[in-house]
Symmetry: C2
Subunit: 463 residues, 2 copies
């Protein structure tokens, strides 16, 4: 989107991103069973390129792929629920489908989740630059630090070695290494391609970064020539205090959660304040919130779809997803208050503290809500295109968000229904793009291709 700075009350063009994962079930547990859901084809060759073209017709900023590096074992104390539900497992590496989707499309962006806890920055920076080249600048990097104990075990990190705040410290340094490789190592004019004199690169315009820090030692030079965006668009979802601070420092697009309009509005305010406190220009940050939308040609048809999806939805996967890091809600009585469990502390409750519960929420409330698609994931609307567009506009204006992260119930049903019913209505109201404005992801979100001057990565530019 090319809208101006965030200002409450101003009618801005909204952006939509699609939430996805290279797995069978993500935020729609039980719905893999629906005959109209083709997501079981996630590991077949034709699926992703075809789906990316469907998403491009919806004019999404980006197809956003979540990721995990271990299996959630929190709920029920084992990996059984995750496996049975196909909840994030089996899963493929997100970069592989993105590379295939980029080749099949021309404008939609791809935001890829990468854990800074288990990657080395040199290799990751090269993979991201490679994707940015081969997509002509349509790559985003969703920065996560990984919380699953099983992920730590898979990379030989003893449980508890990297605690929550240390993971963010490592992520800060990881990003600094990447910024140096992306922004500082190659001058824009380094590739001279002087065929008469057999000079492909001018060696004087490429330099080492010689980074030596607490977690990483990286010499450089970067191995890729400057890509269209250099630094990919940086996405982040930080719910904790340290997470919001990290987002305020690094993220260009921030996801915020919250189980009520008021809670979300407060989180949006916090993120914008953090960014300001870090010297960022408010115009260089976009805030998104998740939503679930069901639309059809009549209210009755939409309600019938909702009932249909509801009938196949199972709460187990949702609860296991939300509490994947060791908080086994099966160990508590359904009447116990989440606030009490957090206050007492114990294994996994640090993550539980980040769950956006309201005062008075009990274990039973969470499990019950998890089984209702109208409720379990926050913002929900169902109706005609106009009904849904009304809700979307209300939310955006009430919460001061710039756009949405759309959750899928069926694939490609959610996207197709968005394109047929919701998109035309938002376009008529002047609140959604009719065509992509630019050819890079950052161009489509912000109107410029390279990271903003107010971002810390820009400090390394031309240095």
């Amino acid at each position: 989107m090319t809208a101006g700075p965030a200002q409450a009350g101003r009618r801005r063009q909204l952006s939509f991103n699609l939430l996805d994962m290279s797995t069978v079930s993500h935020n729609n547990y039980g719905l893999w069973q629906h005959p109209a859901n083709t997501k079981w084809r996630y590991n077949t060759p034709g699926f992703w390129p075809e789906f990316a073209r469907i998403c491009e017709r919806a004019r999404f900023d980006a197809l956003f792929t979540a990721d995990i590096l271990g299996i959630a074992e929190g709920y029920g104390g084992s990996r059984d629920i995750a496996l049975r539900e196909g909840m994030h497992v089996p899963i493929n590496d997100p970069m592989i489908p993105v590379a295939a989707m980029a080749a099949a499309t021309s404008h939609i962006g791809f935001a890829i989740t990468i854990s800074t806890s288990y990657e080395m920055p040199f290799g990751l920076a090269r993979r991201m630059s490679s994707l940015d080249h081969l997509s002509r600048g349509r790559i985003g990097f969703n920065i996560v630090t990984s919380y699953l104990p099983n992920a730590a075990e898979n990379f030989g990190v003893p449980p508890g070695l990297l605690n929550h705040d240390e993971r963010y410290d490592r992520a800060d340094e990881f990003m600094e290494v990447c910024y140096k490789l992306w922004e500082a190592s190659w001058r824009e004019d380094a590739v001279v391609r002087d065929a008469g004199n057999n000079i492909y690169v001018d060696p004087g315009r490429v330099r080492r970064i010689d980074h030596v820090g607490k977690y990483f030692s990286v010499a450089g030079p970067h191995l890729c020539e400057p890509s269209p965006q250099r630094t990919p668009v940086l996405f982040q979802a930080g719910a904790s205090g340290r997470g919001k601070q990290f987002a305020g420092t690094h993220a260009e697009v921030v996801f915020v959660g919250g189980r009520s309009v008021d809670a979300i509005r407060q989180n949006v305010r916090d993120v914008r304040a953090e960014a300001l406190a870090h010297g960022r220009d408010p115009d260089d940050i976009r805030v998104l919130v998740g939503c679930t939308l069901i639309a059809a040609h009549t209210r009755e048809a939409a309600k019938a779809l909702q009932d249909d999806y509801q009938a196949m939805t199972r709460p187990d996967g949702y609860v296991a997803h939300m509490f994947g890091s060791g908080t086994d809600l099966k160990r508590y009585g359904t009447d116990e208050l989440i606030a009490d469990i957090v206050r007492r502390g114990g294994p996994g409750t640090a993550h539980l503290a980040n769950y956006p519960y309201l005062p008075g929420t009990t274990v039973g409330d969470i499990i019950e809500a998890a089984g209702r698609i109208s409720d379990h994931l926050g913002l929900f609307a169902c109706g005609t295109g106009a009904d849904v567009a009304d809700r979307v506009e209300e939310w955006a204006d009430a919460m001061d968000v710039d756009g949405f992260l759309l959750r899928q119930l069926t694939t490609p049903g959610t996207v197709v229904d968005f394109t047929n019913y919701i998109m035309p209505e938002l376009q008529r109201r002047g609140r959604y793009r009719r065509e992509y404005e630019a050819s890079t992801l950052r161009g489509n979100i912000f109107g410029y291709p390279r990271i903003a001057e107010s971002h810390p990565a820009a400090r390394f530019r031309g240095k």
Copy 2:
């Protein structure tokens, strides 16, 4: 290829693989300047899918992508020559173009070079399985251990920490972890997709690997369901004694070098003997040798092409490539014998010892040969399709090799000329496939999709 066991003298169907790299110049230094060479497009979106389809028409077993993780600084004592020549830099990560190429093709395989020294096996195993799924079983893994000092610096490994033999020890354990993840973690019937009962995976059919070794600690389970090949086809080029031992243990397809037919024949014998010594079935190993082929409709036209390529070829890139790991030949007199330099030892000479020089070879001989395309890389043929096919048949029969790794002079010229002139001639003689025999890479090479019983990976199968 579906040929039977290697037997000297038997006329077998031959295989061809294409040697490539996700960079502008690889084994054809100076030739990026040729107007017919489109390789400078290596970092643009359309290039790789289009090129993969051209390669598929050539019926190659695989497009083989070399890789490096640092810049060669040996020759001249700095990275200047590498950058000026575009010698392996700038370079993109090989997995990204392979993912796009796999989506654009249906039969050709893709062998990807990965360093076991700077990757973690859990993440790499997942990426490989993801590629194997999305290509429907057409992925190969070329196992390397990385020798460039700059690569070590990029991953925070102090120079000399992992010496040559230790790199192979780490690679052995790396492969063991991968075998456990690929072969032992998921039962073939683990994904039940029982829609009536909401069971996607049967949890009892997926297990951890709980690997604890000297270099790695990896819990598992693997995150991907079983892919068509499970273990990708394993490629390796080990020239040293430890390298040949590693190849004998792990490799299904082995590249051998040598600067004469006799030297290559001896290396082929050594590799086959190593494999036998490790209990491998000789029928489960294929040996390839590199070659440079120029073909046209007449001998004169082929010679004119050779002269044309020769005129743009520069020796610097070749010398810098061959001696990238610290042996600075510029420090020695052109009359000095390579054997003497190796005998005296010193920085980088361990790698030099692996260079297949003949007794009496001097520094000047190497530099001079590097500038001749008919000589610098071993086997070379130039002529009509029939001329070249004659030489190819002679080589295969004299050296007991199963096929070739074709080097490129121009892209896609080398492949197009192979397809138009050499392929039809070999097909007429019954020594090259007319159509792919199978849909997986291993199927096309060996006639079966999963790794052979005699391979050490098979020990973990069903365990």
